[in-house]
């Protein structure tokens, strides 16, 4: 079991989360060339070692997280919210944050 320290909910089993994939993928502009879209949709570096990836806390706060995790040992180096703006709003309104 991988334990993910959700910045909103605390440390939870990975089974609460849904796996997104490679967080380094950035989608191009809508009118970008076919080549750019092809590479973003289909091509992967498939890192052996530490990689940045997205996880969705589907059975928790439902926030998307960016997790740095080793694909060799599954060790997690860091976890942060994928959308810093949302996180800031949540912590201001008091509906997220420490629990």
């Amino acid at each position: 079991m991988i334990r993910i320290n959700c910045p909103f909910c605390g440390e939870r089993d990975h089974t609460e989360f849904s796996y997104g994939g490679d967080a380094s993928i950035v989608y191009p502009e809508l009118d970008a060339s076919m080549e750019e879209w092809h590479d973003a949709i289909f091509m992967r570096e498939n890192i052996q070692g530490m990689q940045s990836e997205t996880w969705h806390h589907a059975n928790g706060c439902r926030m998307w997280l960016v997790v740095e995790r080793s694909t060799m040992t599954h060790e997690i180096q860091s976890v942060r919210p994928a959308h810093e703006g949302n996180a800031a709003v949540l912590s201001k309104s008091g509906s997220g944050g420490e629990q």
Binding site: D13, H14, M34, F42, R44, E45, T71
Partner: protein
Amino acid sequence: MSRYSAWAVFKNGFSGQKNWDRQWRDPEPKKEYDVVIVGAGLHGLATAYYLAKNHGIKNIAILEKGWLGGGNAGRNTTIVRSNYMMPGNRYFYEHSLKLWEELSHELNYNVMFSQRHHVSLLHSPAARDAAARRYNTMRLTDTDGELWDLDTLKKEIPHLNYNNARFPIIGAAVQKRAGNARHDAVAWGYARGADMQGVDIIQNCEVTGVTREDGKVTALETSRGRIGAKKVGFAVAGHTSRLWQMAGLGNLPIESHKLQAFVSEPLKPLLDHVVVYGVGGAHFYISQSDKGGMVFGGDLDWYKSYAQRGNLPVVQDVAECATAILPCLGRVRLLRHWSGVMDMSMDGAAFICKTPLDNLYLNAGWNYGGFKATPASGWYFADLIANNRPDPVIEHFDLGRFKRGVIIDERGAGPDPKLHG
């Protein structure tokens, strides 16, 4: 090396069965080969075998970083079937099944291929309709396939959960020529067959670098020295991206995920077929080995990984599936489980193709389905390497198919590798 036969067993009986030849040599690598295959798994071994047998190329080496058949060849559930529907897959897997049917004779090696029927359980009229479409497509393209109603299924496999299932069983889609085989024997049979034709199988030889010159590979740097090559084939599913990047070729439409499989303690004969159960998020396939162990598996671990060990939540999922469909397994103990690293491709289909380098060829992206594909994969990869052009059967198993919009997505899951189970 002598052929195996009843007479050979009888003759060796006079010397206590102690004077059999080694099954293959353990040669030192030569300076250069006409063809170097990287990866002595099932596909690499089969490729070398057919290169020698079908195309008369004898100066071949297979490089293996561990021991032959020690990767995914030994980490699967040994299911062989050809119930694929999509153009691109259809004829390829049927050709594979036809090769399986003659494989023991072909290799003079008992691969214990057992056509014990592949029985896919159906749980809803919609699933039955989809199965009818798939299995009718098979029947129209020279493959067997049939639908069983509930009465037939109950007669054939009486101990499935017909009473209290969350998803009641309403029938099954069946391919009778499908079944399973002994995975190690397939590796050993191809290895011996290739070796007998002069192929050097070089184990404990890890590729550490790829030397390029003018858009060609000239040599491979290995842990046992530099080995020159006129043509090179990669057959290292699970770790393809690593080797691809070593050759300086960038990214691939592949992610590495791990898949677990399980075997129980040996039981008396219980299950005569390969049974597949998939509904409502469940995914489960099971058969009984000739030693009596129940061999079964389920889904991927759901996150990218190169670690050859599985996680416990999937063990629980698979155990739940097992008892949901075969409640009689409730008290059976698990003997072992293992995990293999899969090349999961963007559409669930494989690659047997040319590459941006003139004399480099790629065999990769086998997802869950590499075992059954072994003979045809070797057959067509050898043909590609020997003739430097793909056979029409594998013309869409290339890296350019995504650009052309030719997606071979048997599951209709979209470009997310972990969903192509």
